[in-house]
């Protein structure tokens, strides 16, 4: 299962390090990263693959949420299909 992790918040040291480490601990592979500073806000988008992780989706979400709370960041994880649906025309063969 492919998912998108998005991290939004005030820029500070260690964001990439801590989020990557958290994903690594859950056996989640990062396939792509992009990051920008938008209106003073650090914005990082990670495309990840959940196939190797033993954890359920809700558990992964909880871990990332609590990391976000600790660091004062907003961290979302959503299945890639929601973005495929909204931003690509051809989604006929894809499900969740």
């Amino acid at each position: 299962m492919k998912a998108i992790v998005s991290v939004i918040g005030k820029d500070k040291r260690g964001i990439i390090a801590k989020v990557s480490a958290c994903l690594y601990e859950m056996d989640i592979n990062i396939e792509n990263i992009s990051q920008t500073i938008m209106q003073d806000y650090f914005t990082m988008i990670m495309a990840v693959d959940l196939a190797q992780s033993q954890l359920k989706f809700d558990a992964i979400k909880d871990k990332l949420n609590s990391l976000g709370n600790d660091m004062g960041l907003e961290i979302h994880i959503q299945l890639q299909s929601i973005f495929d649906s909204m931003h690509q025309l051809d989604t006929t063969s894809k499900g969740l």
Binding site: I4, S6, I8, N32, S34, T36, M38, T43, I45, A47, F57, D58, K61, H76, I77, Q78, L79, S81, I82, F83, S85, M86, H87, Q88, T91, T92, G95, L96
Partner: protein
């Protein structure tokens, strides 16, 4: 891969602009539950719905968590109970059963305590309709609808006259809760068989055994998108269309996945801009963003016509099967902008009626004085239904004559149903017209001028 902007756009739509899937509605046919025994019919209904819908709430919550989009309600719609109960006359047993199912499954609403009497009522259908006030006043989640007209059959004015009395009876029986039962009852013209929205959802006889119909909403998303448009109305319409496309895509994804997990067929996606009382989730505010000082101003009907049409065009392109009521809803009590316009006097019932000629559905969630006579309510119904019949569209009436309250006071319903300022009604009597009964013949479908 998409750009960061696209991902942030989606996240903002959900977190700040109230994009939501309003409902996953699981339609369940009860035609195979019909027997001539009241108890056996009720037992079969219990077994069938529980076997199909016991995981509906969990599946809805799972999908919501995975894609990060709220799925606000999980609902069930069933074959009109007047058909299912006709052989046994067991509608009161069925209402108890449906109430129990609604509690045990944890769903939000169950629709289909309905009758289709657009040409005439059988004696049993009349008996059934007379039971609606008891059904709605003694249950919490059951919704009822009655189709009193179609463009092909005309308007059953006997049913229209009866429904005025039924609405009053519902109001009286729930007088301690601002006549809340009326909020769960809709009178339709040209009712659709695959509507996921309440109170009017039922599963038509032309539908599959188990069907997932999904309703998506997002007035706030459309309003935010329009804030960036400085151009002419062609550009405004295009912006609405593109936004509607994106919103409907979310519905398509949810409907596909829900139908797979529920082992049901994919019915339709209904993109209806359905407001909630929350700030930033208002259809009225879209119209004001387009350029009206207040909803209700001259120009409102034209604005709404464009909005409704653009929403349908974007939605149809986005989804393999669009249905239900798709368009813009204008329920007064559920829309912060409508409530304000009704309070300031910018919006009255007559303007709302004109607006319903160009938008989805009709006179919706309008609180009127509790002493409004039954024949005046029938007159309101007849006018609204005539708009639907002549224009070959669905229209509906959901008015609440709030027992013991007068114009200018408030009805408080809470939750998605909101609060409504009680609006003035023209009380010149239509008694003779309504008392005549009979049928208004179907209109001519050619030579339209």
């Amino acid at each position: 891969m998409y750009s960061s902007n696209e991902i942030i756009e989606t996240i903002n739509m959900i977190s700040q602009q109230h994009l939501d899937v309003r409902t996953i509605t699981l339609g369940i046919s009860l035609l195979d539950c019909i027997t001539d025994s009241k108890k056996r019919t009720a037992d079969k209904i219990y077994d069938k719905i529980m076997s199909k819908a016991k995981n509906l709430v969990k599946i809805g919550n799972d999908i919501s968590s995975e894609i990060g989009v709220p799925i606000v309600n999980k609902r069930i719609s069933v074959t009109p109970v007047s058909l299912v109960a006709a052989a046994s006359k067991g509608h009161l047993e069925i209402i108890r059963t449906l109430d129990k199912i609604a509690d045990e499954t944890g769903i939000d609403f169950l629709g289909g305590y309905s009758a289709l009497v657009h040409k005439a009522m059988t004696p049993y259908e009349k008996e059934f309709i007379l039971s609606i006030p008891e059904a709605l006043s003694t249950t919490g989640k059951i919704c009822s609808s009655v189709n009193v007209a179609t463009s092909k059959a005309g308007i059953n004015m006997d049913a229209v006259a009866l429904m005025g009395k039924i609405v009053k009876d519902c109001a009286y029986r729930t007088k301690d809760n601002d006549s809340l039962a009326c909020a769960k009852l809709v009178v339709f013209a040209n009712a659709v068989e695959d509507n996921p929205f309440m109170a009017g959802a039922f599963l038509g006889t032309g539908e599959d055994d188990t069907v997932v119909n999904v309703g998506v909403s997002g007035p706030g998303v459309v309003k935010t998108a329009l804030e960036k448009v400085d151009g002419d109305l062609t550009e405004v319409a295009e912006c609405i269309k593109q936004t509607a496309f994106k919103i409907t895509r979310v519905g398509q994804l949810v409907a596909k996945e829900a139908s797979k997990r529920l082992n049901a067929s994919f019915g339709i996606v209904d993109l209806s801009l359905a407001p909630t009382p929350v700030v930033g989730d208002s259809v009225a505010h879209i119209l004001e963003e387009i350029g009206l000082e207040s909803v209700g101003a001259c120009g409102t009907t034209a604005c709404l016509a464009m909005l409704n049409d653009a929403v349908k065009k974007g939605g149809i392109m986005a989804c393999s099967s669009v249905g239900g009521l798709s368009g813009a809803f204008i329920p007064v009590s559920e829309d912060a902008g409508m409530i304000r316009a009704a309070e300031t006097g910018a919006l009255n019932i007559e303007k709302l009626e004109a607006m319903t000629a160009v938008c989805s559905v009709g006179l919706d969630m309008i609180a009127i004085p509790g002493d409004t006579p039954a024949e005046v309510i029938s007159g309101i119904i007849a006018d609204e239904i005539a708009i639907g019949v002549v224009n070959t569209k669905t229209t509906a009436v959901r008015v609440i004559p709030v027992y013991g309250k007068k114009a200018g006071e408030y009805a408080e319903f809470g939750g998605l149903l909101g609060r409504a300022p009680i609006m003035n009604v023209n009380t010149n009597s239509p008694l003779k017209f309504i008392s005549r009964g009979g049928r208004i013949p179907a209109p001519l479908h050619s030579n339209k001028n």
